[in-house]
Symmetry: C2
Subunit: 316 residues, 2 copies
């Protein structure tokens, strides 16, 4: 009985799951902490894969991980959280170890692929996906194909300037969407305004999170609400630009911060509506929440494997 092993390497944990040839119900899922004192990340991940594989013959191993990486070569150019993964040949190392086809993709890109094949984006040939959590990642399906670019580094949608000379981004540049509308940015805005003397029910709290800000906003906190409105406004500005750039038929929001729902999406929609250059871009456009939740990475890796395997044997 052959199956596909999907692996999702996150900042906190690595998950591996086995999927049968059809469907999206995994027959086995296991997880380990990404960072640990014992053994290299690669060796521990390989052991994790072994443990879900058991006696099954895997048809392929497909990995979702944070970029930048080159999906063509399977080389991880840099992985912020994983020591030693600099120009790391992840695909070749796994292929050597398991003797099956291995595919490696950017986690946000694969989440878009997962939502397209199995989630909120089914049936759409032109799809825009944004994941909003500590950072902002993106994925684009264009004419029924994942947008990757010349070296697989496309769709870094969090790293476009929305406010020149604005707040510092995690990437070192200024005024990027991620620096203004990510969960980190929302929380930072609340903290800074409180430090500047603004009243808020979050005043006095240490290490305010976007989730706490959402909770406060739900209870009527003016500052917290404003923080989401500000983020939503710039998100909407960026999305209006992405509509002009990609003309998608659906925009999907994933990631933890998107779970705040209308608190974020209402200002996004208002901003998109106001800033789109002609209403034709809104004709039939859906703006929706992602459906796959925490499984987006695994199911995206699964989708990647199925697409690549069918390309390898087009008659299969």
């Amino acid at each position: 009985m052959s199956g596909i092993i999907a692996v999702d390497i996150g900042g906190t944990q690595i998950r591996a799951a086995v999927y049968p040839q059809q469907g999206i119900t995994s027959t086995r899922v296991r997880r380990i902490a990404t960072v640990s004192g014992e053994g290299s990340v690669f060796d521990r991940m390989a052991a994790l894969i072994e443990s879900v594989r058991l006696d099954e013959t895997a048809e392929a191993v497909s990995v979702a991980t944070a970029g930048p990486l080159d999906p063509e070569t399977g080389i991880v150019i840099e992985a912020a959280n994983i020591p030693g993964w600099k120009d790391f040949p992840l695909r070749d190392r796994l292929a050597e170890r398991f003797g099956v086809p291995v595919f490696v993709g950017n986690d946000a890109n694969l989440a878009a692929l997962g939502e397209w094949k199995y989630g909120a984006g089914q049936g759409h040939n032109d799809l825009l996906y944004l994941t909003i959590s500590t950072g902002i990642g993106g994925g684009v399906i264009s004419h029924g194909r994942l947008l990757e670019g010349a070296h697989g580094m496309a769709a870094e949608l969090g790293h476009v300037v929305v406010l020149p000379d604005g707040p510092l981004c995690s990437c070192g540049q200024r005024g990027h969407l991620e620096a203004i509308a990510s969960g980190t940015a929302i929380a930072r805005y609340v903290s800074e305004e409180i430090a500047g003397g603004r009243p808020s029910r979050l005043a006095g709290a240490a290490n305010i999170s976007a989730r706490e800000a959402a909770g406060a906003a739900a209870q009527g906190d003016e500052l917290a609400r404003e923080a989401f409105q500000r983020a939503g406004k710039y998100l909407g500005q960026a999305v209006a630009g992405f509509l002009h750039i990609f003309n998608p038929s659906i925009v999907i929001f994933g990631g933890g911060v998107s779970l705040s729902g209308a608190l974020l999406l209402d200002p996004v929609r208002a901003s998109v509506q106001r800033l789109v250059m002609t209403p034709a871009y809104l004709d039939g456009l859906q703006i929706v929440l992602a459906r796959l939740g925490d499984d987006a990475g695994l199911l995206g890796a699964l989708a990647q494997a199925r697409i690549k395997l069918s390309e390898l044997s087009p008659t299969g």
Copy 2:
């Protein structure tokens, strides 16, 4: 002897040319003014096509025109300069008249296609094209395919915000790239600064053009030079974003204003270099001038016809 008739509908003139099955040397080109007191634009264009066709049997007619339009249906949603072309079924009207396959595409998109097939972008699978003239248009080749979007309105690269609440754009929105870095915007900046009291050798001139500003800059005019530096800075900001979005291997600048060369491209390159999130996006990246000049529209239409005809008969 069968050939392809390419038509380029510009703001000033309409050109039609016949191309043989191979190569890019037209056997006949004719032109008429776009706007005239006599007859409808469609009838005059049809007569123009007749006149280049003569006794040849055309294999197809392929038209480049300003959008917004839907290349799938060949309907021109709106044409600013042509009275009556609102939801105008250009493809069907031409097909009815000539009885051959007709293809209709956005002029900037087709210019990108032309540069890709026959010009500066040959051999690149991921290409970004920007045409800078009175406005700013764009075209993107992604994984060897023209980016069109769900309704053919993608790649409107001049209509992304580079400065929130900035100058008014021709489309009615504010702070778009086109409103800050087009020829019109460069000329307006010079005029406004002169009106505000800045010295310039262009002071006193009526209706300053971007070309005159380029001439003045070449002669050392400080204000004119600054106008191009400002445009180049924001162009570079937008291009850095487009690198993160598309990860192309080549960026091509076309349109009249790009002929100012280093005056514009030097600040663009400096800005891109400064604003890219990781140098990996610049690895092997070319930033070059377009090669097809005024023929970009015709040759883009030719490329469109050859691609579509080969899709119609894949074994041909």
